[in-house]
């Protein structure tokens, strides 16, 4: 109850105990909300008693970033292959009669763009987490 009452309003002040933030970070991590997890980890002061826990949680986010980046990289490779294939075969006469080839190509390119953006964001988060390590 206390958590519900005081947690959210005081969250942005950074005054709450480290464990509160760690719980919230892990909750965000469960939903692959990496940006929010990084933000919350940044807010936490890192009390001495929770230093090792804080460090493990930081490493967990970095690890998840890497796994997700790898997944995005696979998607990007697949999409690039598809676009290349599409451009190559799209010029053949028998392909002219296929249903909406340009629409498909645009869709691939849009998805590719989103995948690249996601990968960049994850890369940024990872580098921020690396610099965040507390001595």
């Amino acid at each position: 109850m206390l958590k519900k009452l005081l947690g959210k309003p005081l969250e942005n002040t950074g005054a709450l105990p480290t464990r509160y933030y760690l719980h919230e970070v892990l909750k965000s991590l469960d939903h692959d909300n990496i940006g929010e997890a990084v933000r919350l980890l940044r807010m936490s002061k890192g009390a001495v008693i929770d230093k090792s826990r804080w460090e493990v949680v930081r490493q967990q986010i970095i690890f998840r970033c890497r796994v997700l980046r790898e997944r995005h990289r696979k998607h990007i490779n697949f999409l690039e292959e598809k676009i290349k294939e599409h451009k190559k075969h799209g010029k053949l006469p028998w392909r002219w009669f296929h249903k909406r080839p340009t629409e498909k190509l645009v869709q691939y390119e849009k998805t590719l763009d989103l995948e690249r953006q996601a990968q960049d964001l994850l890369e940024q988060c990872e580098s921020e987490l690396k610099t965040m390590a507390k001595g």
Binding site: G7, P17, L26, D30, E55, Q60, E70, R71
Partner: protein, 107 residues
């Protein structure tokens, strides 16, 4: 019964005395009273189960590693090594989990 009157200057003096005491204790003993109090509040928040929560998250991360059904133990270990090259504590936790899994399977 007579109603109690709240004094603003009194509250201000109280706050200043508290702050002074906090600074004096910190200077003399090196202990951070406010941080300690916040830690106690943290325990009150029901946050004492953080270790269990971290363990659950570690298991979840290991499961979410895109492991193929035909991947063997060595390949998974190599994959963990690649991804945790600069994350020693997490690597250790993963290896402990893997060992526990193997031991449970062979038992």
């Amino acid at each position: 019964m007579e109603g109690k009157k709240l004094s603003f200057p009194g509250a201000l003096v109280g706050a200043l005395v508290g702050l002074g005491a906090e600074i004096a204790i910190r200077e003399m003993t090196g202990l951070d009273v406010i941080e300690g109090l916040l830690e106690i509040i943290g325990a009150g928040f029901g946050l004492i189960r953080i270790d269990k929560r971290i363990y659950e998250s570690t298991v979840k991360l290991l499961k979410g590693m895109d492991i193929q059904p035909d991947d063997d133990y060595q390949r998974i270990l190599r994959r963990i090594d690649e991804l945790t090259v600069d994350l020693p504590e997490l690597r250790e936790n993963f290896l402990r989990l893997m060992d526990a899994g193997v031991r449970a399977k062979s038992a």
